[in-house]
């Protein structure tokens, strides 16, 4: 029996941060694995110490490029809790709009990517095309395709005009038109079902034990969503469902994400239809002496949590726990007993904001053999 130790990382097109996955194999079956992070660790929490609150907001804007609304939205929520400030209704609605557009573009990307992982390149192209529609809307609203810097303390940066509203509705309609085709393909295609059904099953009991959140928990039957459990912004004034599936496999996670796109489109339409009149307040200087507060929002991947301590008007400690951190602990458990070919599918279905794959080094009988992703997949997957 050979015991291969493979540090895995085929160089992935969609890698946020890197993690090195070390896998021990018996033939083709995984017996043990460990995750090693650190390849994208910069020291953001330390960087935030000693900064003023507005400077902290600027840094927090740049933490993540794909869920770029989640972090500033959580930070602003926490600081406004410290100030005991309730923003005007128009500001709340505009923030909800930005959050939901961010959620749609993130889900479109990762669903397309999951299908790319099983070889369905055409669907990736369709999803990226639809994502471009949403990015055009976001660019018109905020001025940027990513790192929007839209959330400000007590306000938002730009207001939305009548033309922008009509443009958004037009683009949302184009995206919505495609969803039934995608659902039909996913439900009927035998290859998708064969590669994704019963792969990476997380039972409801495991999901509760490992404290999972987000679409992963919802695909295992736990109906948890911060937008309903602890409403913020304008979520208590819009009507939407918390999407739940029961199988807990990669297929269920994909279905949850696509159905959440439909719900988010519903929310965007309601927000634009009922947008309160008025002007957004101007950005004013902030004076906050001391405070310790926590806040959480529903990022596209789950619950995002910030704990901020202010001392002498500066940030003393900023604790940021992004949603992906939560499910890396179950990833290693999910791989036990699976075949090595399931690794990309499982990883993509977990939609991590921390995983990167590099080229593979196979250590066999003491001899090192460096393979590219293509060779690795050809030989082992």
């Amino acid at each position: 029996m050979h015991d291969f130790k493979i540090p895995i990382g085929p160089q992935h097109p969609a890698t946020d941060e890197s993690a090195c996955l070390r896998v021990s194999l018996d033939g083709n079956t995984i017996i043990d694995s460990d995750l090693r992070f650190g390849y994208a660790h910069k020291g953001i929490e330390k960087l935030l110490e000693g900064k003023r609150i507005e400077q902290g907001l600027h840094i927090v804007d740049h933490i993540c490029g794909i869920c770029s609304v989640a972090h500033p939205s959580c930070y602003v929520k926490t600081i406004e809790k410290m100030l005991n400030y309730k923003p005007p209704e128009r500001v709340k609605y505009l923030r909800t709009l930005a959050s939901e557009l961010g959620r749609i573009q993130s889900h479109l990307f990762w669903t397309g990517f999951m299908l790319h992982e099983i070889g369905f390149e055409t669907m990736l192209a369709y999803f990226l095309r639809d994502r471009e529609h949403i990015l055009e809307v976001l660019e018109r609203l905020t001025g940027s395709r990513s790192h929007f810097a839209y959330h400000k303390i007590r306000t938002v940066r730009n207001d939305i005009s009548e033309n922008d509203v009509n443009f958004t509705l037009k683009k949302i309609k184009e995206v919505k038109k495609q969803i039934p085709t995608y659902m039909k393909t996913i439900k009927k295609d035998t290859v998708i079902k064969a590669r994704m059904k019963d792969v990476g099953i997380i039972t409801r009991m495991d999901a509760e034990r490992y404290s999972l959140v987000g679409p992963i928990a919802r695909a295992s039957g736990i109906s948890t969503d911060i937008r309903k459990d602890d409403p913020y912004e304008a979520y208590d004034q819009v009507d939407f469902e918390v999407i739940t599936e029961w199988d807990g496999d990669a297929y269920a996670r994909m279905l949850v994400r696509i159905r959440e796109i439909i719900e988010s489109i519903k929310i965007v339409k309601q927000v634009l239809k009922n947008l309160p009149k008025g002007k957004i307040p101007p950005s004013t200087p902030l004076i906050l002496e001391e405070g310790l507060e926590l806040g959480r929002v529903e990022a596209p991947r789950g619950e995002n949590f910030h704990l901020i301590k202010i001392k002498n008007k500066k940030i003393d400690r900023a604790r940021i726990r992004p949603p992906t951190f939560n499910f890396m602990s179950i990833f290693t458990k999910l791989l036990e007993g699976r075949k090595i070919g399931d690794i990309p599918v499982i990883l993509a279905s977990l939609d991590p904001c921390y995983a990167c794959m590099e080229r593979v080094v196979v250590i066999k009988d003491g001899k090192k053999e460096v393979l590219t992703e293509h060779d690795f997949r050809r030989k082992y997957a």
Binding site: P13, T15, E17, A40, I44, L128, S146
Partner: protein, 137 residues
Amino acid sequence: MIKKSPWISFFNSGGCKGCVLECIMLTSPKYDIERFGCLLKPSARHADILLVTGVMNKQSKARLKKVYEQMAPNKKVIAIGSCAISGGIFRNAYNASQGIDKEIPVDVYVPGCPPKPEALIDALIKVLDDFDGSKKD
């Protein structure tokens, strides 16, 4: 020699996903670099041009160097985003470097946070003008 259809690959040396996503959106139907013959390859061994994003931190320094050495000679490197050029907003963090050109030679710098795909296409064209048969080790 390579005048028209370079194959590109990219390496994320530790940034947020912003610049990486813009690289991937190059292959989306809206920008579609594949109509020029540019293929986005997952492995650097097959690539002529390496796009590097992210602020290089201590752990990814060695990997970046290895990936660079794996490429065939006559290769070009494009540094994308402010983090890859100079460390960007994370310059002063304890685990970040001040730019990838401390480690590998860079041919074109594309500023932005993140730069738009149009800027990336412009960078690819600039690099192609530079290929001209000159060998680079």
